[in-house]
Amino acid sequence: MTKYLLQLLIALVLFGGICGRSFAEEPFASPAKVTNAALVYWQAFALLPELSDGDTKLLSHLEKDEQPLNKAEPLLARSRLALGLIRHVKPDTPCRWELIEDGPSTLLPHLSKARLLARLLILKARIDAKSGDRAMALDQLSQALLLARNVDDGVLVQMLVGDSIESLAVDAAQELLPTLDRRSRDRLSEAIVNLPPRATFGKAIMYERDVFAEWLRPIVSDDNEEAREKLKPMGAINDSADMAAILAETREQRTQWFNELLAAYGDIVKASRLPLPNANQEIIRLEQSFSESPNPLIRLFMPASSRARERHMQIDARLAELQTALQDAAKPEGKSS
């Protein structure tokens, strides 16, 4: 028995080694086995066309219906490789951007490209829908919504970009709605249900606190000269009058301001959990008090959160409305709620 066990172990080790080796030698990822959506997105970003100022303006005009849709065709033709590539990202594909954390200096080079790619997808969806290719239009819209969710890794700014994409996608979906047959409505509804969950405002604020405050902690606790050295690469922050005021103070004063900053983030999160009208009022009141605060750390680092929260909640409501409309329209006549 022991003899067979040993043979079995050797066979398993050999088999594992062969499998591992063949996996390591695969030069390309199979489209069916994409393990990180971010890598597909980066490839698509590299294939995006160079935009002129005119292209940027055109995109904006097209979104506001100030230009006929067919004007977008040359730009979409230049983007076709990028738009085609991202269809390999599925709703259940994990997305890890793996950005290098560096406090406020953390680089987010993917944000602008993700937003551009999503805007092109939505534009393409609208053109496809107009030309009668509803299946393709729904695919493009679903991909734009998925990109919006994937771009939102939890930080407030990422949430804002995700929301701006979702807003455009919902606009396009509502425009498309009257033309969709039952099957197409079910398909879009299913695509929305299968999306990764939306980030919450409270989590975004807490993440913001972690990123900014953890970066600030050693600065406020060091002596003035060391703190100044650490701030040097920050440029804009380092040159601000508020930062000069912070560095002119003693370590004790700076620590007190730092603790007040941490509490301010907590106050925003607490306010966001209040019932709806009270929450909005309280967040606006807090925001006002932050801008007038004697604490320069609060004035410098507290984000403008009321607008971000309002927009986030609007998107939540619009998505819920869209889902209801899709489900109602899919029900047989006379049964709509």
């Binding site: 970003f45 590299a46 294939l47 995006l48 066309p49 160079e50 935009l51 002129s52 100022d53 940027t56 033709a77 230049r78 983007s79 076709r80 490789l81 990028a82 406090g103 406020p104 200096s105 953390t106 680089l107 987010l108 080079p109 944000l111 602008s112 490209k113 937003r115 551009l116 930080v155 407030l156 700014v157 804002l160 970009v161 701006s164 913001e208 990123v211 050295e229 040097k232 690469p233 920050m234 440029g235 804009a236 922050i237 380092n238 040159d239 984000p303 403008a304 607008r307 971000a308």
Partner: protein, 143 residues
């Protein structure tokens, strides 16, 4: 007796198998071939190369010595300015007021806290300026 005869016969056969002395003609021909072999030719070539290199080096040294002497004699020639030796530089700043903002968390957060549309404008700017590789003229995607 019979055994003795057999041994004598074997001895005779072995004596016949002894190598014969090489002829003088063969030795001469072998000597000529060895002189012309690639190993010998290579060795000759290397010797020539060493001689040429040594001659070149001597000539170069002479030229340098002459050039240095003429430079010493020519007092009116302009003296090159002294080079400044760079000292330790201040850490580079990422964002100056006249520099376009980089795609950092802080830059986006500031834009988001600014006027309505500031964040979108900054994102549009970065969408135009980061990874600008595919132009109309070189686009492989353009039909």
């Amino acid at each position: 007796m019979n055994e003795q005869n057999k041994n004598d016969h074997l001895e005779q056969e072995l004596r016949n198998l002894q190598p014969r002395e090489l002829s003088d003609g063969f030795m001469e021909s072998l000597g000529r071939r060895l002189d012309m072999s690639p190993v010998v030719r290579e060795s000759t070539r290397r010797q020539k190369l060493v001689k040429v290199s040594v001659a070149g080096a001597v000539a170069a040294m002479l030229l340098i010595a002459l050039w240095g002497a003429s430079d010493l004699l020519n007092h009116d020639a302009p003296v090159p300015p002294e080079r400044e030796i760079a000292g330790p530089k201040e850490a580079p700043r990422q964002e100056k007021p006249d520099e376009p903002p980089k795609p950092t968390l802080f830059a986006y957060s500031l834009a988001a806290s600014g006027q309505q549309g500031d964040l979108e404008e900054l994102l549009d700017y970065h969408a135009r300026t980061l990874l600008p590789t595919v132009t109309d003229s070189n686009s492989v995607a353009y039909p």
